[in-house]
Structure formats: structure tokens, C-alpha cells
Symmetry: D2
Subunit: 114 residues, 4 copies
């Protein structure tokens, strides 16, 4: 698969990694952090996997599809958790959930196509 | 400094990291790889520093300005090397040089502002 | 500087990155997370910078010394915060503080020597 | 699975990432770089996946086993390529191949156990 074909998925992954790191750091400033513990944890895991997926795709790696499969799973899990807090008005969680959904879909497509 | 103020610089860093990794992998496919050795080396170093700068900025870190200072230096060095090969018609080097110049300027501004 | 000369500093950086990530995830399980917020934040920032320093040194990069300078600063800040919680009996913070101190010293030496 | 149980695998992953990055940069200094192109490419891919596996394990992530599965595959591929050059006397390739074999085995065990 060409670098060009990877580009949309790479963009979704890097945007998601940034959103996850930002969400984690904003969660740490919330009044009731306890409620955000699982959100922060999933943000951190998801950010690692998104960065990795983006990096192997940038290298045109043969492992990209498998990496995207894991990344999609992490994004779905993180989106689900963030959506709970988004409903209660947390903007960083809403933005993170949206970035996770977009990334999950892009990665799922990449994982299936390859 | 707010996450929002970091956003343009983060975008420039992640785009540069992707361009550098892609340039490295394309250089490895060139007929005369020997001539590309320093380009590949700088691509790899620059990619690490861009990813790092983007990540600490995403976390709103107090170390962002210092990280952007190093990142700018690496981007200038990589841009200069890539421009030599861009002149001889290598597209991945031209694209990488452009991403490096944009990132260097964004990082320089961030390093000075903070 | 040779890869071999970098090896001790690389080892200290990767050990510190692992300790910081582990400390962050253990802090998230604490009863009083609120008190750990700054610790988690510094763990995350420090982990990024340690990974970066280790990676550029592994590449034998000319940017290693500057990267080690920032890494040392982050390690000192993280150690100082972790030590507060270590005094109150938190083992993950004590282990993290020790790893941070070792890494800060190794990085400081590298930054000065280069 | 506990952080402690992850520790040996984490150590193997970070050692392998360092060996891969170092091997790539040493390959770039070889007289006949052309012959090393696939080795460099696999070094880079393997290093990304090893760093990722180490980072998610440090976070005690539920995605660790899946990440270790991909990491093992990349390590086997990189070891196989490096061993060809190790036979012709390249020390960085021999060291990298050994680190890859150790990491592949540790990751394989982790992937199966989880």
C-alpha cells in the first residue's frame, strides 16, 4: 500500500493521539478526578497506539494493518469512556471521543483493506 | 500557554514527523542510497524530536518551549540536507524540506514566545 | 561520541521512562487521586522526554546533549514531586523518584560532556 | 497481569529498540549501504513496535498482549534479515539479531500467556 493511501489514516491517528494526551491532562485538572481515572488511563493507552500506528504507516510498514487493528480497538474503548463524560458537559472528553471515533473507523478500514 | 495556542505548532510537528519518516523510507529505495545516508540519518533524528515536541505540547508541558528549541534546530538541519536532493528532483526530499521549514518556524516562534 | 559511551545514559533513560509510566498508572489507582494530579502530569512529561533522549542517543544523534539537558530538568522536577509521596509510603513514587534521580545525573553528565 | 510480570518483557523490548536504532545508524555508515536497505527498514519498523510494546506494558494496558504479538512478528523478521549480515561479520547486525530473538521470545510468551 502506498504512503498516499495511508495519509488519511495517519492524519486521523495523529489527531487522535493529540486529543488523547490533551484530554488526559485536562482530566487531571477536573474537580472530581476520581471519576476520570479510567478515562485518563485509556487516553494514555490509546495515545501510544495511535502514535505507533501513525509511525509504522509513515514508514510504509508491512505491519501497518495489524497495528491499525489494535489501534481501532483502543480507540473504540476510549471513545466509549469519553462519551460518558461528554454527556455531562466535558468538552475535552467530547473532542477526544470524536477524534477516537474517526480514528477507529479509519484504522478499521485500513486493517480490513490490507 | 493554552493547548489552543499550541495547536498550530503541534500540527506542524506531526506533519514534519510523518514527512521525515516517509522521506527516510523512500530514500532507502533510491538507486544511489549512499548519497542519501546523511538525509536518512537526519530524517530519523528530526522525526524523533518532532514527535516529542508534539507530545509535550499536547500535554501542555512546561518543557514545551525548550523542546521546540531543539526541534527547530533539527528541522533546519534536515531541511538543508533535503534541499540538496530536492534540487536534483527528489520529491520526497522536497516535501520533507518544506515540512521541516514550516515546523522550524513554528517551533522557533513557540520557543521564543514561551 | 560513540554508542558505547551513550549506553549507561540510555539505560537510565529507558528505566526512568518505564518507572514514570508505571507510576502514573499506579497513581490513578490511589484513593486520593487529587493529591497525585501533579505527580501524574510530571510522570507523563518526564516519560516522553526520557524516551526521546534514549532514542536520539541510540541514533548517535548530534542533538543528544541538548535533549539530555531538557531530560535532566524534567527528571529533577518529577523526582522532587515523587519524593513528597514516597515519604508518605507510596512505593511506586519512591521507585520513580529513584529512577528519576539516576536518570537526571546521567543526563546531566551527558549534557555537560558533549 | 501485574507490572512485575511485564518487567522481563519490557526490558527485552527496550533493549531491542535501542539495538535496532543503533543498527540502523551503523548500517548507514557501511560501504555497501544498498545491501543494508531492507535491514535499515526493518530496524526502523521493529524499533517503533518495541517502543510501543514497552510503553503499553509499562501502563499495564489490556492491549499489551496484542501489541506483543505484532512486536514478536517484527522481531522475527528483523532478526532473520540481520542474521544474513551477521554471518558476513557485521557486529551491529549480530547484536541486533540477538536482541530481536530475545525480544521475540519474551513477546511471544506474553502474547500467549495473556
Amino acid at each position: 500500500m502506498s504512503h498516499q493511501k495511508f495519509q488519511d489514516c495517519i492524519d486521523a491517528c495523529v489527531a487522535c493521539a493529540v486529543a488523547c494526551s490533551h484530554c488526559a491532562t485536562e482530566c487531571l485538572k477536573e474537580e472530581d478526578i476520581k471519576m476520570m481515572a479510567r478515562c485518563i488511563q485509556l487516553d494514555l493507552e490509546c495515545a501510544v497506539l495511535c502514535r505507533s500506528a501513525a509511525e509504522v504507516m509513515s514508514l510504509g510498514s508491512e505491519f501497518s494493518a495489524h497495528m491499525c487493528r489494535i489501534c481501532a480497538d483502543a480507540c473504540y474503548a476510549c471513545a466509549e469512556e469519553c462519551e460518558k463524560h461528554a454527556e455531562r458537559g466535558m468538552n475535552h472528553c467530547r473532542e477526544c471521543a470524536e477524534a477516537c471515533r474517526r480514528c477507529a473507523e479509519a484504522c478499521e478500514e485500513m486493517a480490513t483493506a490490507a
